[in-house]
Symmetry: C2
Subunit: 385 residues, 2 copies
């Protein structure tokens, strides 16, 4: 066992008001922030090949502890020398702790101070996740960035429940940190650990959560429990409260967010990292993002549209195919439809965060954002537009 724990490298290059441009470096990759991290729940980003992700300049993807623990199982991944080797991905991986999935996917989850009992959504088998064993599992996975176990409360939640849950999340964060310190990386690369701010939509709970996590000390801080159905203004308000408190010298990660609009708002509020299934899932559902707005490619208006999804886009899909052909592929349910939509949407999401970064560096983020945000929210309903 190699004992080699070090802090995650994070360099803050420029701030434009609260918006930040930085660099994160793990032992697998160095990437610029703000960054969008494609979601590879089960060890694969849906409908796209690893080499295509590399083409898009993806330097970090997400893996999901809950799913990978159930299938293919941690023993197998351990035998392969960790998740990077098992899935043949040599860039960075962040794994979430499984907290969110336990509460959203599994049956009969029963929570206690020690952890959470749950039944697999696949076969009903019983399992128990604790703050300690999710760290152990993530040690075996060998992710570059591990997450603490948290309780993700649904929206709406009464104050008293949110308060108790936030307290529990802090207790679990302490236990996770202690387990992190007691253990070492199993493979030859080091691993960082992020805390997760909870507290529902209650500003005092969010503040308390943030302060308590800072006190414990993490390599980075995530904001969890948002984008779960609350109004957008509350999501932005909670994010803002957290980023006001969180230390400048650590990365900040807004979990599970979001639409292009949400990402721009998050960046403005000082968020560095994002993940979301929207570009991949919506892509497979024929919703495509462009600089000029979103288009539902199944719309019959695009039936004979010879233009690409986005005339200004340099992705393989836009450089090669017409809207009419992609619409046809969706109509006849060709897998190629999902592949081409995924390539385009991820390309767009990466473009969005990179462009935001350039604007932050040239101190023009806010003007650019205000300009583009109404465009990207538009629904495109005309040919060639």
């Amino acid at each position: 066992m190699i004992k080699f724990i070090k802090d995650l490298k994070f360099i803050l290059l420029n701030s434009n008001n609260k918006a930040r441009a930085g660099i994160i470096e793990t032992e697998h990759s160095k990437f610029e922030t703000p960054v969008f991290m494609p979601v590879g729940t089960q060890g694969a980003v849906k409908a796209i090949e690893h080499r295509e992700l590399l083409d898009l300049d993806t330097k970090i993807i997400l893996g999901n502890t809950y799913h990978l623990y159930l299938r293919p199982g941690i023993d197998l991944i351990r035998r392969f020398g960790g998740l990077h080797k098992f899935i043949s991905w040599n860039q960075s991986i962040l794994t979430d702790s499984g907290g969110y999935q336990i509460f959203s996917l599994s049956d009969l989850n029963k929570i206690s101070k020690d952890g959470v009992h749950f039944k697999s959504h696949i076969d009903g088998s019983k399992h128990f996740f604790t703050p300690e064993n999710v760290i152990d599992i993530q040690r075996y996975l060998g992710s570059d960035i591990m997450m603490v176990l948290d309780e993700c409360v649904p929206y709406p939640a009464i104050y008293d429940y949110a308060r108790k849950s936030q307290e529990l999340t802090t207790e679990w964060a302490i236990k996770c940190k202690n387990q992190f310190l007691r253990t070492s990386n199993i493979y030859s690369h080091s691993q960082a650990i992020f805390g997760i701010v909870q507290g529902s939509v209650y500003s005092d709970l969010r503040k308390r959560s943030a302060y308590e996590l800072i006190e414990i000390g993490f390599d980075g801080y995530a904001i969890g429990g948002l984008s779960v159905g609350e109004p957008k203004n509350l999501m932005y308000e909670m994010t803002s409260i957290c980023t006001e408190i969180l230390p400048d010298d650590k990365p900040r990660y807004l979990m599970g967010v979001g639409t292009p609009e949400d990402i721009l708002e998050g960046i403005e509020l000082g968020i560095d990292m994002f993940d979301c299934v929207i570009p991949t899932r919506n892509g497979r559902n024929a919703m495509l993002f462009t600089k000029k707005g979103t288009l539902s490619i199944k719309n019959s208006i695009f039936k004979d549209d010879e233009s690409p999804i986005d005339i200004d886009c340099n992705c393989y899909t836009c450089k090669t195919f017409s809207r009419a052909y992609i619409r046809h592929l969706f109509t006849v349910k060709e897998i190629l439809a999902y592949q081409l939509a995924t390539i385009h949407n991820l390309y767009f999401y990466h473009w969005l965060t990179r462009k935001a970064r350039q604007e932050i560096i040239s101190n023009s983020f806010k003007e650019w954002k205000n300009n583009i945000i109404n465009q990207i929210k538009t629904k495109i309903t005309n040919k060639g537009e």
Copy 2:
């Protein structure tokens, strides 16, 4: 309208007994034979991108007149300047006439001397295909190689039905040829036309069909109505009867065939062109082909197998991923599983025909074939094998 009809270029380089190595050239591509043509029924080869097909050195794919006529419709494809432009594929395309699909997919097909009435398998709408209009449709599609309308009889069929059907197929072939001569290519490239030998498993009907088609005169000759359930020896016997008669200076195409074994047998009997959904469809069903045999990757024996599908294979899938990971992807139903399996299986099929060609050129085909055919039929049930 550009009037520019010329023969398909076919050069026979070497024969090794009946097996042939040649070159076919259309105005879109030049390709070596024997050739395997991936099936792009609806204008896309399932689960693989065009650029990936080009990487595999695919120079010709199939399109399906029946499917494309129904969706997206011929008007749309015409407006785009033909199928090549609509699907953004700049190599060759062969379109089948739709005969096979009418009889296998559509409801209530009613056949007459003039053509066949059928109901769409999608919406029940009524249509009528004639020898003349399938040529017109393929003119609009702009395929490099068009096929005549034929009746594909099921197996088994009584002699009298097979005889009448063969006679009808010849009549239709005459009508198709006449329509071909009466019309011109609509786009700037020329189009060739192939006849289709029918006659079920009756050698006298097969012979008669072949002689009649040669009399009409085509740019190439296909053998249809095989691999429809008849015993393998009958398929090989019928193929042999046809290739004995068909002219040496024209390509021969065994339609819808087949397994790697069938392809090798077909090559030995003098076939130049093959198409089949087996590599793509079976790939999506977790059946993978290798030089040492086939493997059902879902088999639990491969659960922790670190070796690639085929250690001797240079495809992206084998160069990058383990059997264990690919098995996991199939288990959790990731689209990536279908993508990786398709890449590998098509790579293998292309390898098979190219290797066969090398052996034909060095006059060692038969020895090589006898050697490899038992290997490729084997079922691999051991790790790392």
